[in-house]
C-alpha cells in the first residue's frame, strides 16, 4: 500500500484516485486516519511519480487538514498501516490540531553573484579558502536572520532548508496571511538589486509535520 497522508479520524473519504489508478482509501484509527492506495509491491518512484504524488497531496489538502507522508512510503498490508497508525495517532492528532488552517510557504533567496567557494584543490591558499568559506556562511546566515525578521509577523514557525546556492526558508503561515507575507517579501526584494527572491506555495505542511524538527520564531 502506498501511503499519502495522515488526516483527522473524522475526515471525509477522498473521491480521488492515486498513482496506481486505484481509488484512495482511508484506514481509520480512533484519533487519526491514513489515506492509502492499494498497489503492487513495486515502485519505480520516478520524478514524474513524485510530481503526481505532490499534485494528489495538494488536492487532498484543499479538503482537510493533513500531515503529508514522505514519498515514497509503502507498507505491505492494511494491518501494518493500522499498527503504525495506532502507535503514532496521539502525536499525529495533536500536530494536526496545531497545524489546522496553516500552510507552508518557501522563500528562496539567491544572489546575483552566486556563492563561490574556492575549493582546496584550487590554486588559492588555505587562508583564502577559509576566508571565502566564512564569507559564504556569513552571507547565508545574515540572509536567514533578515528573512526571519521580515516574516516574524506571519510565520508561526520557520525552518531553514538545505540549499546548494543561496538560502531556502520554509515558513508555517496561516492560510489567510499568505498574501501579506508574499507582499512583504516582494517589497523587501525590490529594495535589493543584488539578489533575487522567489516565494512558492502555499503548500501542505511538508516541513512542519514533526514539531521537534522546527525552529520556532
Amino acid at each position: 500500500m502506498l501511503l499519502y497522508a495522515v488526516v483527522p479520524a473524522d475526515a471525509t473519504a477522498p473521491e480521488a484516485r492515486g498513482l496506481a489508478g486505484q481509488r484512495l482509501e482511508m484506514i481509520r484509527g480512533m484519533l487519526a486516519a491514513v489515506i492509502v492506495e492499494e498497489c503492487a509491491e513495486r515502485l519505480s518512484a520516478t520524478g514524474e511519480d513524485a510530481r503526481s504524488f505532490a499534485e494528489i497531496i495538494c488536492d487532498l489538502a484543499t479538503t482537510t487538514s493533513m500531515l503529508p507522508i514522505r514519498f515514497p512510503t509503502m507498507l505491505p498490508t492494511r494491518s501494518a498501516v493500522l499498527a503504525e497508525l495506532q502507535a503514532n495517532e496521539a502525536a499525529w492528532r495533536r500536530r494536526l490540531t496545531e497545524l489546522d488552517g496553516l500552510s507552508e510557504v518557501v522563500i528562496r533567496v539567491q544572489w546575483a553573484e552566486p556563492d563561490h567557494e574556492s575549493g582546496p584543490a584550487s590554486n588559492s591558499s588555505g587562508t583564502t579558502y577559509l576566508l571565502s568559506r566564512a564569507a559564504v556562511i556569513h552571507r547565508r546566515e545574515s540572509s536567514v536572520a533578515e528573512i526571519s525578521e521580515l516574516v516574524r509577523a506571519w510565520a508561526r514557525e520557520i525552518k531553514v532548508l538545505h540549499s546548494q546556492q543561496g538560502v531556502r526558508i520554509a515558513c508555517l503561515v496561516a492560510n489567510t496571511d499568505v498574501p501579506q507575507l508574499r507582499d512583504a517579501v516582494t517589497s523587501w526584494q525590490q529594495a535589493r538589486s543584488d539578489r533575487q527572491v522567489a516565494v512558492s506555495g502555499p503548500w501542505p505542511v511538508f516541513s512542519f509535520v514533526v514539531d521537534q524538527e522546527v525552529v520556532s520564531t
Binding site: 513495486r42 504524488f53 497531496i57 507522508i69 546575483a112 538545505h162
Partner: protein, 68 residues
C-alpha cells in the same frame, strides 16, 4: 527585475520546491519498499527503511558521529 531573476520561472521554482518537499519532508514511516526500473524489480528492501534525499542522509550521519 534583474537578469538573474529572469532566469527563474515562477513555475519552475514552485515545482522544484514542491518535489523537494515531497521527498524531503513529510511524516516518516518505516516500511518495506521495492525499487524497480522499467517494470523490473531490482531490490527488495525488507529492512525498516526510510528513503530520503542524499543531503539529509549525510546530515544524519554527521549528527550520529557527533553524538557517538
Amino acid at each position: 527585475m534583474s537578469d538573474a531573476t529572469e532566469k527563474w520561472s515562477d513555475n519552475q521554482v514552485a515545482l522544484v520546491d514542491l518535489i523537494d518537499r515531497v521527498i524531503g519532508g513529510g511524516v516518516v514511516i518505516t516500511g518495506d519498499v521495492v525499487l524497480g526500473v522499467a517494470g523490473v524489480d531490482l531490490v527488495y528492501l525488507g529492512l525498516r527503511l526510510v528513503l530520503a534525499p542524499a543531503h539529509e542522509v549525510e546530515q544524519s550521519i554527521a549528527l550520529g558521529r557527533r553524538s557517538a
